[in-house]
Amino acid sequence: MNRIRWGVAVALGLPVFAFASSHREAPNIARYPTLDATDLYMFNSYESGRAGYVTILANYIPLQDSYGGPNYFALDPAGLYEIKIDNTGDGVEDLTFQFQFTNTLGNNGNGIALNIGPTGNTASIPVPLKNVGMISGASSPNLNFVQTYTLTLVTGPARTGAASPIANATSGGTTFTRPMDYIGQKSFGSDAAYATYAGQYIYNITVPGCSGTGRVFVGQRQEGFVVNLGEIFDLVDFVPIEGDNNPVYNPTGTPFPGGITQNAANNILANKNITTLALELPAACLKGTGNGVIGAWTNASTRQVRVFNPSPTFAKPEVNGGAWTQVSRLGMPLVNEVVIGLPAKDAFNASAPSGDAQFLNYVTNPSLPALLNALFLTAVNQTLGTTLTNLAPTNFPRTDLEAAFLTGFAGLNQLATVTPSEMLRLNTAVAATPAASQNPLGVAAGDLAGFPNGRRPGDDVVDIALRVVMGALCYPLPIGANGAPTNLGLCAPADAPVGNQPFTDGAPINAGMFQTTFPYLNTPLPGSPIGAQ
């Protein structure tokens, strides 16, 4: 059938599935939020005057409430945060950008203290807070905690390649500082003042072996991922198909009675912050000798052995030793949420793209469409009086999903050598689309500079992923000349009975919701006053 009319969905009591890009997606990494990668973005920079640059944003520490003081959200000084680039297609990193953090107390490392007690008999007492007054810069005497970091480029495999420090292009120094999280408007003056304060920590950088200047920023941002998270967790407690003729999400289709409609209130993450590691680099420095397509993923690792200090100090709450052991991995959004099975999620987090053959069955025989089918098939048939036997695509193995998740699409974002491996792939030769012209449905809507050709902050990866897993690639896409419908030849409409439907979670997103300059993600929400979150 060409168009299914969905009525009220009936939950069938089946297992739920997570649908946050990578927020607390695996049992073990949920125990270590500071090492938990949540989203990776990579796109050809669309900031004015930055053509020829690639921006990469790796987000960590999920679901931050902006009022989470007094410690807020420092990255892990015992962690190793990496952004890896494969520019040959063998599934092995050719370039790795490593971030390592150091915590320092204010007052030259001693911590800010106040003299407490009667005159002549005072005691110097360290304060319990991270600031004792307004903050305007790293050298502010009121700031009681500073997190600095080093940035290293490794050429070749991350553990055995040649490592070189990346330097501040202005000072030549190799230590960078991240801004304090947005404690609140009283501590920083206003949202605009915080934006100015944080902007001081965007550094121009000199990258070894790279002509041209890049940029780096690490700091708190407003969560840019948009999703109807709670409802999805709750057995998809809505009809996940567009209920009106929204010009972006359902421009040519028929509204579905009872289907969800686009509403910003459906984005439950709107009041959360995140911590971003942001890089902007000349594309020429990333693409190597390949075909101009690069693959990227981010990892977090910690040392294999941790010994808790029974007499902890600020500097030494624990001791870590041994080999770096990877605990988080993120390339394409949603893979470890809705593709990899629960028993293997932490194994996926510890794995490398070169070993992805072990996860192939999760892609070729995905469980998510079957879960959606189980949740909604009976309701659809009861409501419509139809006799559909299956809503899920039936083309096995799902070569359409292999292309989407593991190989990229020939002629668009496939690396020179094709090794099935999960990473975010970007063709650096595809000109960036200006923010005002971007389509949040990316390639599926004819915007070739969007997801899955890289990922921009304004791309609606939830809706794209929903549509792809339900068989959107079995139908022609408007990617031919002048947007002509083009059949990818990966599967046929008959394989995907609802593959042409405008699946959605009802949480809209677009490039206009974000700033158009590096680091693109918005200034974080303040911890106070109440109501500003």
């Binding site: 015992a78 055995t160 294999q304 794995s351």
Partner: protein, 93 residues
């Protein structure tokens, strides 16, 4: 007269030293340059966790993590609060 705590520690260290060679060989056997490969221990021997941890601390950060799925650990130092004192004193943060 010998300090009882020192004697206990010495006894522990003696036992651990005796096991160190075998553990080192086991840990070495678990190393592999291929991240996706794993060589199981040759025998089902209980490995003192203290020695294992000390051996891990001796590894370079850029070495390969030791696979642990097929190792049976012996936590014989669980009741000794001083078992890792040397690591805390000398380890890096």
């Amino acid at each position: 007269m010998q300090n009882p705590r020192a004697a206990r520690t010495l006894k522990l260290h003696w036992r651990l030293l005796a096991a160190a060679g075998a553990v080192a060989a086991l840990v070495s056997a678990c190393h592999n340059n291929d991240d996706n490969a794993y060589t199981p221990p040759p025998v089902n021997t209980a490995v003192p966790f203290t020695i294992f941890a000390q051996q891990a601390f001796a590894n370079a950060a850029n070495s390969t993590p030791v696979a642990v799925n097929n190792i049976n650990f012996d936590f014989d130092s669980n009741d000794d609060p001083t078992a890792f004192n040397n690591l805390i004193a000398e380890g890096s943060f």
